[in-house]
């Protein structure tokens, strides 16, 4: 393994009685990157976080932190810190004491503590709030206190358990920028858990998409968005139109009764596949110029774009995001480029998927 790995999971399994939470997780976290564990609730993403923090023990497999096996090391001896979903700030302490907690445990010199707390509060833009009680702080401010309290200990890895879910939309978007910026400035590894795909796409270097205790796909936001491995990922990340198709041969796929040029290869001739087209890649045009013809069924104004739902002659539903208006009930053409077509094989594992992509991209 590379020398840059800070956390490694080796065949990690977790189960409570007969209830399997994680099945055979292998992952590698590199130093200084922003990772996101993305998945619906109950997929095991928080369990991975708890395993890293040390709040739960793995049933099988090894977890290493900085090259050392940490399966039996209690949380208070691990160089990771957590920002909890409910922030878990100590209600009987003010902001200063909350942030200073970890440093006081380490029995640091009083003046050093003062300096460090002041520094980290400045970093999260809470200078001057030292004496405030926790109940006097707003949700966004509590969030920052929680981040400051974790960061002041200079952890190797910062774990964030859905920290933005309790904030309203505007604040959440602001915090996404701030967290991303903070991570890049400090160069600390962040592991962020969320069920919000937009959050994941906006902030991460690497996303792990999870489903029922397994990592389905991992990669950069762009990779995962552009090349979803299966229907689950395509559906979970962004909006998508998914139709059944047949891979005629390399770079040629047929669906809804037509054959189109595409950029995918490495499959068996005439293999049954699924095809993804993103709503924003579909361009409204005249019936003559379009590659597909649909009848507009409904249209919603979403602010940045219109969300148009139409049906083709076979009854497939197509969602289009367009800045141009369409007329409900009219027939319109849809145009797309070969690279907008994403072909997914049934039951392909991540390794097979990666190997196939590599095989034809090198040619």
């Amino acid at each position: 393994m590379t020398g840059n790995a800070i956390i490694e999971f080796n065949h990690v399994k977790k189960q409570y009685d007969d209830n399997v939470i994680l099945k055979d997780i292998d992952l590698e976290i590199e130093r200084g990157k922003f990772y996101t564990l993305l998945g619906p609730s109950g997929c095991g993403k928080t369990t991975i976080l708890n395993l890293v923090a040390g709040f739960t023990e793995a049933t099988e497999g090894t977890i290493t932190l900085n090259g050392k096996k940490v399966n039996d090391i209690p949380p208070n001896q691990r160089t990771v810190n957590t920002v909890f979903q409910d922030y878990a700030l100590f209600p009987h302490m003010n902001v200063f004491e909350n942030v200073a907690f970890g440093l006081r445990i380490k029995k640091m010199n009083k003046n050093v503590i003062k300096e460090k707390v002041a520094e980290v509060l400045k970093m999260v833009q809470l200078s001057g709030y030292e004496e405030r009680g926790i109940s006097e702080m707003s949700g966004g401010q509590r969030q920052r206190v929680a981040i400051a309290r974790a960061l002041v200990n200079e952890p190797d890895v910062l774990l964030l358990d859905e920290p933005l879910s309790a904030l309203d939309l505007k604040l959440r978007t602001d915090m996404q920028y701030e967290l991303r910026e903070l991570q890049q400035r400090l160069g600390i590894t962040f592991i962020f858990v969320t069920h919000d795909q937009e959050e994941a796409l906006a902030m991460s270097d690497i996303i792990f998409v999870m489903k029922e205790g397994e990592i389905v796909q991992s990669g950069t936001p762009v990779d995962i968005y552009d090349e979803p491995i299966n229907r689950y990922v395509a559906d979970f990340i962004g909006e998508s139109n998914i139709v059944k198709g047949t891979m005629i041969q390399d770079y040629e796929v047929s669906f809804v009764g037509h054959t189109f040029e595409c950029v995918d290869a490495g499959m068996r001739p005439n293999e049954k596949v699924e095809v993804v087209l993103r709503p924003e890649d579909l361009v409204l045009t005249s019936v003559e110029k379009g590659k597909l013809t649909v009848q507009v069924d409904t249209q919603l104004f979403r602010g940045v774009h219109y969300e148009i739902i139409g049906y083709d002659r076979d009854g497939n539903e197509w969602m289009v995001h367009s800045t141009k208006k369409a007329k409900v009930g009219s027939e319109v053409g849809l145009y797309f480029e070969p690279e907008d077509i994403h072909v997914m094989r049934f039951g392909e594992s991540e390794q097979e998927f990666d190997a196939r992509l590599e095989s034809y991209e090198e040619e």
């Binding site: 209690p74 949380p75 001896q77 909890f84």
Partner: protein, 269 residues
């Protein structure tokens, strides 16, 4: 609508006036009359000048303090363990159960247990120790009083510990604290509200315990409660009894103020 709401308070207000406010006023009023029904401050003078009453007051405080201390020492660890057990409701029930039994019955039961031929002495002779005078000692009084008060201390502490957000404990470990540091810096300070209500619930009634002082303590322990009883029932000096009552009420109010919720600003360092 507003009138309707006020209506609900009528029974309680009535109760309050009849059984709380009126008696307190009566006690204060009577405390200004001596045994010959003259209006005077004599009773207050006697209270401060004769050393007996001051000594009795100190005695009351001292025993109430000891009872509260022992109760707390037993109850806190018990409440803490209770929050970690599997069948919490069952254990709680077992702790509450004795409070449903009449105090007098329990006192008589202890007379039986502690008497010269009682279970306690039988056990001692079984161990090869000659029978001891257990009943009518300070120790037996403290033992029984503590036994009776324990549930009233456990419950508020247990509730405070149960309300504690578990992620606060995770956060403490996460920030590097070990179990002891987590207890000292997070769990204990946050359970203090429960401790305070427990202390109130135990200390205040303990100030005026008189039945136990007689039945178990054999009148060796004389508290304000005993003195009031004696003045009203034996010497029939109601004025003096009321004066002591006034001091008892003052002591209770003081205790409540001291253990009450204070608006805190900033942190506990």
């Amino acid at each position: 609508m507003k009138q309707n709401k006020a209506l609900y308070f009528v029974p309680y207000t009535f109760w309050l006036i009849l059984f709380v406010i009126a008696p307190i006023l009566l006690i204060i009023y009577q405390s200004f009359f001596n045994i010959h029904d003259d209006f005077t401050l004599e009773n207050y003078q006697t209270y401060f000048q004769s050393g007996t009453y001051l000594k009795m007051t100190l005695n009351s405080f001292w025993y109430a303090f000891l009872i509260t201390l022992f109760t707390l020492l037993i109850s806190y660890p018990t409440a803490y363990l209770l929050t970690k057990t599997k069948h919490k409701q069952l254990w709680l029930l077992l702790i509450i159960l004795p409070t449903w039994i009449n105090l007098l019955l329990k006192a008589y039961a202890f007379i039986g247990i502690f008497s010269m031929n009682g279970t306690a002495n039988q056990f001692l002779s079984f161990m090869g120790i000659a029978p001891q005078q257990i009943l009518f000692t300070d120790a037996s009084f403290l033992f029984v009083a503590t036994y009776i008060e324990i549930p009233f201390m456990i419950l508020p502490i247990y509730n405070a510990l149960e309300e504690l957000n578990p992620s606060l404990i995770s956060a403490s470990y996460d920030l590097g604290a070990n179990s002891w540091q987590t207890f000292r810096r997070v769990v204990f300070p946050l359970s203090l509200t429960g401790v305070k209500s427990g202390v109130q619930a135990v200390f205040i009634p303990s100030l005026s315990l008189f039945m136990l002082t007689r039945l178990i303590g054999g009148n060796r322990v004389i508290t304000l409660g005993t003195a009031i009883e004696q003045h009203f029932l034996v010497t029939e000096n109601w004025g003096m009894g009321s004066t002591i009552g006034v001091f008892l009420i003052i002591a209770m109010v003081l205790t409540m103020l001291l253990t009450g919720e204070k608006k805190k600003k900033g942190a506990i360092r």
